[in-house]
Symmetry: C2
Subunit: 405 residues, 2 copies
């Protein structure tokens, strides 16, 4: 007997036909004593359709009412899936985020799970029911519906698996697992049998789209093994867990990630004195613009001015411009340049900083293909290079070839 949490995304439950397929699969895989919790997203494009509807209301900020609206998407899919289980003779019950005890707080549309009170889930499991939980949503301590932002259904699944001490959390998706690079770009990318939480978190943070960083972090916190696998095949995918089963499975490099949602901003001619950078970035932070890579160029200690170059998500560029142009008008900064044609390519491995020569091999492989590197940033587990967006696929292939051939 095992307790499973299985998560299916919006494309897996886009139609009743697809839901029936999933229900059949779950029932086929289920051993008699197994207990099953299923976390589902909204059907297909439902969430986008609802957002589109709301966008027709003038000056409509993303707030409590938006979450009230879009949380209906999951409520529709959980009820239909429970109906299908019941119609196939297996007792099932659907639970909203609130009913499943998913307590979340923070900004509406970007809630963080802060607690799980799964009494009702346990009760339903003990009554022999399959429990279908609405992903992507929780309830605040004040009783308001709040959604969890991108990747929210994964986060629901992993957090619930953690709180209930499930044996495994299975994330069903349209890819077969976690690859050494995006297989749509690198055809000979390798599917990993296992990857550690720490490395997966780094890959996710750097743009590997399989899982959202927040949900990987949740798995790390709760020590829940996560199995990323395909909705469409029965073969095993990739297990994300605390450490590798055998030390030998650990590679120098575990994967290459890319992110083309990157814009570069250069603030030129800032006064060369303590606090200048702090002033700039605190202004951005207080306007909710997260900054990624940062380079500060002080030419000489006695230079009167410095330049600061940094990156933000392309999707945040509009807001960043708004903040910086305001600072310019206030005379706090002089000249700003924006470049929305950037991408970031990164490699991730268990001991990146402790392995000399890795950086040199990356730079070499990019140099061979005449790809210019703008900014480099490093962390314990990764090295990232900012490059022109047009070269992104070429760069990934070059680096992947260097380390995986």
């Amino acid at each position: 007997m095992a307790l499973y949490v299985k998560k299916f995304g919006g494309s897996s439950v886009a139609t009743l036909e697809k839901m029936r397929h999933i229900v059949s699969r779950v029932l086929n895989d289920k051993k008699e004593e197994d207990q099953i919790i299923i976390v589902v997203s909204a059907m297909g494009n439902t969430t986008d359709d609802l957002l589109h509807l709301a966008s027709k209301v003038e000056n409509n900020p993303f707030n409590r009412e938006m979450d009230m609206l879009i949380s209906t998407g999951e409520q529709v899919s959980i009820s239909l899936m429970a109906m299908i289980f019941n119609s196939m003779g297996t007792p099932a019950i659907s639970l909203t985020g609130a009913q499943a005890g998913i307590i979340a707080e923070g900004v509406f549309g970007k809630g963080n799970i802060v607690d799980i009170k799964p009494e009702r889930v346990f009760k339903a499991l003990n009554e022999g029911k399959v429990v279908i939980v609405a992903g992507f949503q929780g309830i605040t301590p004040q009783g308001d519906i709040i959604t969890l932002g991108r990747g929210g259904s994964d986060t629901t699944a992993v957090a619930l698996a953690g709180a209930m001490e499930a044996d495994i959390c299975e994330i069903y998706t349209d890819v077969k697992g976690v690859y050494s690079a995006d297989p749509r770009i690198v055809p000979n990318a390798i599917k990993m049998k296992e990857i550690t939480n720490a490395e997966m978190l780094e890959l996710a943070r750097l743009g590997a789209g399989v899982m959202h960083p927040q949900s990987v972090a949740m798995g790390k916190r709760y020590h829940v093994p996560i199995h990323v696998r395909s909705t469409f095949t029965h073969e095993s995918g990739t297990i994300i867990k605390d450490s590798y089963s055998k030390q030998m499975e650990s590679n120098l490099i575990c994967g290459v990630a890319q992110d083309d949602n990157v814009a570069r901003i250069a603030v030129l001619g800032l006064e060369n004195m303590p606090g200048t950078a702090g002033m700039l970035f605190s202004e951005l932070a207080s306007n909710e613009v997260p900054v990624d890579m940062i380079v500060q160029s002080a030419r000489k200690l006695d230079d009167k001015t410095i330049d600061i170059i940094f990156t933000v998500a392309s999707t945040d560029l509009h807001q960043a411009k708004f903040v910086l142009e305001q600072m310019k008008q206030q005379g706090k900064i002089n000249k700003v340049m924006y470049d929305d044609n950037c991408a970031k390519v990164s490699i991730v491995g268990p001991e990146m900083l402790g392995t000399p020569g890795v950086a040199a091999r990356i730079f070499g492989s990019l140099g061979k293909d005449n790809i210019n590197i703008d900014i480099v940033s490093t962390s314990k587990n990764s090295i990232s290079c900012l490059i022109p967006r047009t070269y992104i696929n070429k760069a990934i292939c070059a680096i992947h070839d260097e380390f995986f051939k």
Copy 2:
């Protein structure tokens, strides 16, 4: 300063454009200190669309999961309406049935409001917000979403108005008020300024479609004045309240109602002994077939057999047939005849039984038009006649002419 509960139905909120119209109207009518609660139904045909979706799941009974599904319809409309208020500069908050403290119990899809805990509604009003409440839905003491069945949003509005001691509950609809007969059939029908709860309840029960009996009963229980009025004009509609403002306003007849959802069933040749009718109707009741008019014909006391003729809703005829054919197979009854071409025409007035001659005038006006009367039933406030369905409009006009010309 007054506390208003205003209810808008699905056709009034079918599009964002229509919602904007309503919001503008509410804001125009609002005096500065007024407190406003708005109860809304699902947009347009949303509920039917969701029911249609669920009907594609095989052998899908109406149960908890169906309510989980269709309750999303109101959640969408309340959130959008709150967004529109906010975008127009008036703070508003949407509340689901659960959040508004609408406690209901009973069969899923046909819940009854058993309690209202409106703390959150009061709190939001005191914060100066317009409160938008999802109609048609409540939460069971066990925490399950339950819908209230036909006319449920009216019931929510009236119950909430009662619990909060609102000054008035306004039901906005596509007709201008309560008429002496359906104005689509009787062009010279008179719009009533006032009508008592008791008479409105009788009219509603007998088929006047303006309000559902359950919501009228709720208004009677809580002594809430209800104003039935048009969404499209500013003129006053009909006020439903405990008693008439002036005694002289009371008429002999206050209205004519019709119901064409009627089927006639004749059970022939039943054994003429005590308990026979009880056996028949308890079997129907335990299979959830409500029976309306009943006639038992014992020809003579020493006859061996009797016939029982009764009516059910046409929509319940299928279930009634199922029960009766089963009883036939078990030998409990012999011969049954079904007739699904019936209608019921009724007149309602404050003192029907105490006014001799009313029945004679009805029978006379129907007889003049050669309309045959099959069954007659009477109550303190009404007289009803079962007639062939094809004559329904003719019958209503004849009776209305008799009493209102």
